[in-house]
Amino acid sequence: MLNIMSLKKKKAEEGAQAGGSGGKKKASSSQLRLQKDMDKLPSTLKLTFPDANDLHNFRLTIRPDEGFYKGGTFEFTFTVGTGYPHDAPKVKCSQKIYHPNIDLEGNVCLNILREDWKPVLNIHSVLVGLQYLFLEPNADDPLNKEAAEALRQNRKNFESNVYRSMRGGNVGSTTYDNVLGK
């Protein structure tokens, strides 16, 4: 009993120290939830953490294994606020790519990142949603109107535009990033 009490005291002292020096912070509720979300991923998706102690900021690499965008390597940055899971994570594409649902600044139009977010969704749902955008680009909800128009008018034409853009070529007056490397 005595032993337990002294252990407890020691722990409290450590806690006070950590609180003072800002060393080991108490896990926030968003952090706890994030830890539960990072489960097994399909081989087409990869997460990297620039700072291993920071689960709130990470990068996603998608390598679609079928569809228009097969062969490309697409990078996204995730910023998860402390309001997670009540607020959706913020996701941006870090390359300039030709996609109906992603604009030239990298903003992504995916319903569950905006109006349809709900706290029972998780990071996994977002990852799968993003991957789906590469398999089935959606012309009805465009951020890149030209790309959406091309997809709606003529899929063959759209396909060759994607092919060109992924090699760092031009579509219209815009030059896109080469996403084939690595």
Partner: protein
Amino acid sequence: MKMKIKRWQAVAVWKWDLPDEDDVCGICRNVFDGCCPDCKSPGDDCPLIWGQCSHVFHMHCLLKWLEQESSRGQCPMDRRPFVAASA
């Protein structure tokens, strides 16, 4: 042999009345018999809330969601208006 009880301590356990006792809250993913991430101890301090739609959450988790405008007052599971079931 005669025994005389001088002192005794009662110990009780409790759990929420749920179909699956290992079930987790869809919002925080903690077990229902635990508490929401903002609380220290489970039980009356961190109760559960049942909706008429049959979905259950930690009350604190659900209220935090419903306070947000983006929730539109809907159950996070089925997006129907969340109405608490009367116990």
